[in-house]
């Protein structure tokens, strides 16, 4: 029997898609790839249970067929697109909420549940999952772990790994493993294999279930925006807020250009771009959340400190609310959502480096310089604080890319690679929210040096035949002996 016949026999006809039109639908995400680069999967499977996934992987293992698992297909660097064809595992068909444990503030879910579905399920218990990327309506738990994507509330709660207590995976041999520490928040026992899953891109195993730590829903929240003459001043200000003992819930530094990307609803309402002072180079958005009295006290103290850093409060609330709608509430006017508006001609393309605290401004100028050198239209930079109670930057250095223009896509890739390598030279890291995918695979050694061979060994243990999402992190076949 062919492997597709075996899949049909194992799963049932209704869980296996084979039509070319269906393959076309499952073959693309948000990443800028030219039509020539488009490689559809050969078959799409729709598992409902971990056992289904196990059956799929065992068949793939036997036939040595690539298996790529995906969620909402909103990845920005092709992490979950099956670049060598084979089997695409759509995990969104596995979206059950297995258990809400109110007393221990945890939730157990199937990995295909979207982050919003998790929050819809736990909200009645006055709990929430604070890992909140802008794609939360579509981004699944499994994808959030495997991609290690960003979160609006990282400065208080960190990223998905800070919420992840335990995960069930199906390895490249079809073995089902539970990695983690049940409902305990941390452990000193053994090696932290669970942590390997964050940013693993489905190359070690397909995540099928996860136990996540929840937080109490804060009673109130206040969001403000301040402008600063320099990025460095905004960073110094944030450092001062943390020194003062304030508990920030969100902190994002935008360059002036980037603001336009987030103020779609403002433009719709007023027919113009929001005005900010000509001298302002950095816009810092901050949020405090908790009991109203605590929020008010913290906010007042934070705003009082701003003048020491030449910071000025943005008084026009519409600007702040427009940004926040785009970033978190997604409360767009009906029929006027921002994404298509911002991407009518070109796609959003980004590099996602992380750099040390003191070098933000320097790196920003390098970003502009590199984008101009590559003749790419600049969308702007956003520096998210993604580490709890510290200034840990995740940078989105974004440009517009016409994916139908192979030369522009090539220039975008060069831009991405230059910035990634530059981040390492800046004593930072190449990736903070999109992972490596096929894009960084050829030069991962720049970041990891000799330790890369240990990573290959790890990959070989979990996936000896290299069938799981081949071409991601390592060039295809790189882990085979």
């Amino acid at each position: 029997m062919s492997y597709t016949e075996e899949l049909i026999a194992a799963l049932g006809k209704e869980k296996v898609l084979l039509d070319p039109s269906e393959m076309f639908v499952y073959g693309a995400d948000w990443s800028p790839r030219t039509p020539d680069e488009f490689v559809p999967p050969d078959v799409v499977v729709l598992p409902r249970t971990t056992r289904d996934v196990q059956r799929i992987v065992k068949i793939a293992y036997q036939h040595e067929v690539p298996v790529t698992a995906g969620g909402g297909l909103t990845g920005m660097l092709g992490g979950a697109v099956p670049i060598y064809g084979g089997i695409y595992v759509d995990t969104t068909t596995m979206n059950s909420i297995v258990e809400v444990d109110q007393r221990n503030q945890t939730v157990r879910v199937q990995a295909g549940a979207t982050l919003q579905e998790v929050n819809d399920a736990v909200q009645p218990y006055d709990l929430w999952l604070p890992h909140q990327p802008e794609s939360k309506w579509v981004s699944t738990v499994g994808a959030a772990i495997a991609c290690d994507n960003d979160s609006t509330f990282g400065v208080r709660y960190g990223k998905i790994l800070n919420c992840l207590l335990s995960a069930e995976i199906v390895t490249g041999t079809g073995e089902i493993l539970e990695l983690g520490h049940r409902k305990a928040h941390f452990t000193s026992s053994g090696y932290k294999l669970k942590d390997l899953l964050a940013g693993s891109e489905g190359t070690l195993g397909i995540i099928t279930e996860a136990t996540l730590k929840l937080e109490p829903i804060p009673a109130s929240r206040k969001v403000d925006m301040l402008v600063f003459p320099r990025m460095g001043a905004a960073v110094d200000y944030l450092s001062r807020l943390l020194k003062a003992g304030l508990c920030l819930e969100a902190a994002h530094i935008n360059c002036k250009r980037r603001l336009k990307f987030y103020t779609h609803s403002y433009r719709l309402k007023y027919g113009k771009d929001p005005e900010i002072p000509a001298w302002a180079e950095a816009l810092l958005a901050i949020a405090f959340a908790g009991d109203a009295e605590v929020v008010d006290t913290q906010r007042a103290y934070a705003l009082k400190l701003a003048k020491d850093f030449e910071g000025q409060l943005v008084e026009e609330r519409e600007i702040v609310e427009s940004w926040w709608a785009s970033k978190y509430t997604l409360d767009f006017e009906p029929f006027k959502q921002k994404w298509p508006e911002s991407q009518k001609q070109k796609k959003f393309g980004a590099a996602d480096p992380g750099i040390p605290v003191g070098r933000l401004e320097e790196f920003y100028h390098k970003f502009i310089e590199t984008a101009e050198k590559k003749n790419l239209e600049i969308l702007g930079m956003n520096a998210y604080l993604e580490h709890p109670n510290s200034i840990g930057f995740s940078l989105s250095c974004a440009v517009f890319v016409d994916y139908r223009n192979p030369d522009e896509v090539k220039r975008f890739r060069e831009f991405h690679d230059e910035l990634s390598k530059l981040a390492v030279a800046f004593e930072g890291t190449m990736s903070t929210f999109m992972s490596d995918t096929y894009q960084k695979a050829p030069y991962l050694e720049v970041e990891h040096g000799p330790s890369l061979k240990y990573m290959r060994e790890v990959k070989r243990i979990f996936d000896p035949k290299g069938i799981l999402n081949p071409g991601k992190k390592f060039p295809k076949g790189a882990n085979k002996k």
Partner: protein
């Protein structure tokens, strides 16, 4: 009406964006979890087809037709997704795809009987018997009450029309009806991709309505409301179109109907054509609030979930259609309401297929409250709201 090729830029934009925000509220996608059946996937299918990436196949046809055109995807987007799907269906018809057999019979019925339900034209006279309603004649009336095929020829749905007419009479509105001369608005033809047949019918309809010299059409059917409104506006006609809930809510507000309010908990289901696609949300709610205790479902107004009846889904995909109805009814039951009130014959019929909760037409509900009020227990509604 644009053809599929004219939406190519929008399809490219969706392909380039891939945000997938349309998935969350799409009733079909949420039931099926197959990406070809949400708008993001459907837009991709259309694009691939135009680009010659694949041929028309049963899966392509399924992607086109397994959709209620409820417009929930449009609410979360700035692209005209529902129009894309309509054009997709038209494209398939023009490229040799035979109408689904369930849809073929509807088309045949409209052609032969002037309604999609294989009922003789005279069946349209049934609901108005005994009401002494004038028949529309050129220059004789300003307001035409347009019953709509489904309510007019389906006995179980006649009560809603009777209630509408009685309420208009009680409030002193002078209006006429077309009886068996009332045409089908063609909504179904449009939704299943029969654009040429729709255009032909619609042009005839406009001539017929203009010849009556009317100023306003008040219709009881949300499908007729959006279809006639758009067709008349596009033709440059001065005839206004309103849904019965708009006309009656105004009369209630003006205090022209004496009614009795109860404390019964009721929820309101927005028909897609009236709410999201027609923009009428508050008037039906004003009526429910005037006579009962309105409890909203979590998904209401723009976010309302389709009952599963629309755009040919009920006839061609009955199981899926019923699953969607069951989901909506479950949402209604969870509010603790005793009754789902709605204002669309399709929604009413569809929601009634799921047992366990009463489903009632908006105007029937109001007529009951008015008749109770007339028995002496009523109050003027301006105090009741």
């Amino acid at each position: 009406m644009s053809g599929l090729e004219e939406f190519r830029d929008e399809l490219e934009t969706c392909f380039g964006t891939s945000c997938g925000f349309c998935e969350r509220g799409c009733p079909v996608y949420q039931a099926m979890k197959i990406k070809t059946l949400c708008m993001k996937g459907r837009n991709r299918t259309m694009l691939g087809l135009l680009q010659g990436k694949f041929e028309i196949s049963p899966a392509v046809v399924q992607a086109a037709f397994e959709c209620t055109l409820c417009g929930n995807c449009d609410r979360w987007c700035s692209l005209k997704n529902t129009e894309h799907t309509r054009a997709f269906r038209e494209y398939l018809m023009k490229h040799g795809v035979e109408p689904m057999k369930e849809h073929s019979s509807i088309l045949l019925s409209i052609k032969n009987y002037g309604n999609p339900w294989f009922q003789p034209r005279s069946a349209r006279n049934r609901w108005s018997r005994g009401l002494n309603l004038p028949k529309a004649a050129p220059g004789q009336q300003d307001v035409l009450f347009f019953a709509g095929c489904t309510s007019a020829v389906t006995k179980q749905l006649n009560k809603g029309l009777v209630a509408s007419a009685k309420l208009l009479q009680k409030a002193g509105v002078k209006f006429a009806i077309m009886g068996q001369d009332e045409p089908c608005c063609g909504s179904t033809l449009l939704r299943v991709g029969q654009t040429d047949a729709f255009k032909e019918l619609s042009e005839e309809n406009i001539k017929k309505l203009e010849a009556l010299g009317i100023k306003k059409i008040v219709t009881a059917c949300p499908g007729c409301y959006t279809t006639l409104k758009k067709a008349l506006e596009e033709s440059g006609s001065k005839i206004k179109v309103e849904h019965i809930s708009q006309e009656i809510a105004r009369l209630v507000k003006q205090g022209k109907l004496k009614l009795k309010k109860s404390s019964e908990r009721m929820t309101y289901h927005d028909p897609c054509h009236l709410g999201r696609l027609g923009g009428v949300f508050e008037e039906p709610r004003d009526i429910v609030k005037a006579v009962a205790n309105l409890i909203e479902m979590p998904n209401n107004r723009y976010e309302s979930r389709c009952c599963g009846a629309g755009a040919g889904l009920q006839s061609a995909f009955p199981k899926l259609s019923k699953d969607l109805a069951a989901k909506r009814v479950a949402e209604a039951k969870a509010t603790g309401a005793t009754t789902i009130v709605t204002s669309c014959p399709f929604c009413e019929t569809q929601l009634r297929t799921v047992p366990g909760i009463k489903v009632m037409d908006l105007l029937e509900l109001l007529l009951d409250a008015v008749e109770s009020g007339e028995k002496g227990n009523g109050q003027r509604n301006e105090k009741a709201g």
